[in-house]
Symmetry: C2
Subunit: 107 residues, 2 copies
Amino acid sequence: MAEAGTDKTVAKQPDDEILYDLAELFKVFGDSTRIKILYSMFEHELCVNDIARLLNLSQSSVSHQLRILKTSKLVKFRRDGKSIYYSLDDEHVRSIISMGMEHLEEP
Amino acid sequence: MAEAGTDKTVAKQPDDEILYDLAELFKVFGDSTRIKILYSMFEHELCVNDIARLLNLSQSSVSHQLRILKTSKLVKFRRDGKSIYYSLDDEHVRSIISMGMEHLEEP
DNA sequence: CAAACATATGATTAATTGTTCATATATTAT
DNA sequence: ATAATATATGAACAATTAATCATATGTTTG
């Protein structure tokens, strides 16, 4: 029994939903504040205030953006006393950013 | 004489401008219409009308988005008679999309 | 050259989104 | 328990942006 959208005349695209999620993921990388935040954690974990001071952003703004990064599983975190330390969630995050960099460096 | 922001206590970030450009690049991937368009060209080149029909989008919309993809050097194109055939510009585009997919597939 | 077809583009509009401000929650120290 | 510090979150506002509509540009055919 044919599934909806199984059209033999053209190469099948991944489900719209997957492409939608993919766009949502890139959207997260597509804001300079969030990219700066991600980049600030390239070497080591940082707490919210560290990031805010380092990047000259308000604590609130950083918190809001970290929530988005958390939701997309781009960062993980651990509590240590009053502070919460954030770090990149996995190597994919670095890879994606590095690929982007490489593209920019092209002729 | 120390420049503003040259703080030795933390690893230096790349120039703001580079990170800004990086965010702009990901912003281009961060729209589901554009991702669908890019994905439609994964296998082979397509002309504007092909894309519009395939993805059920207006010709105008596709053209507008292709202009953005062109500007970011994500697609290239060639004219053949009345039609203009678009294709992915290089392997980085595929790589970036694939990396994103991999991230989505994670546990 | 005119008609037809393919693509590009400018202007407008609706929807999305990042920042700010105010305030809430959570942890530690006194 | 209260104050102090660190982080999170809700609401409102300003700015960005994708789709549409109308029209322009470019190419081929009769």
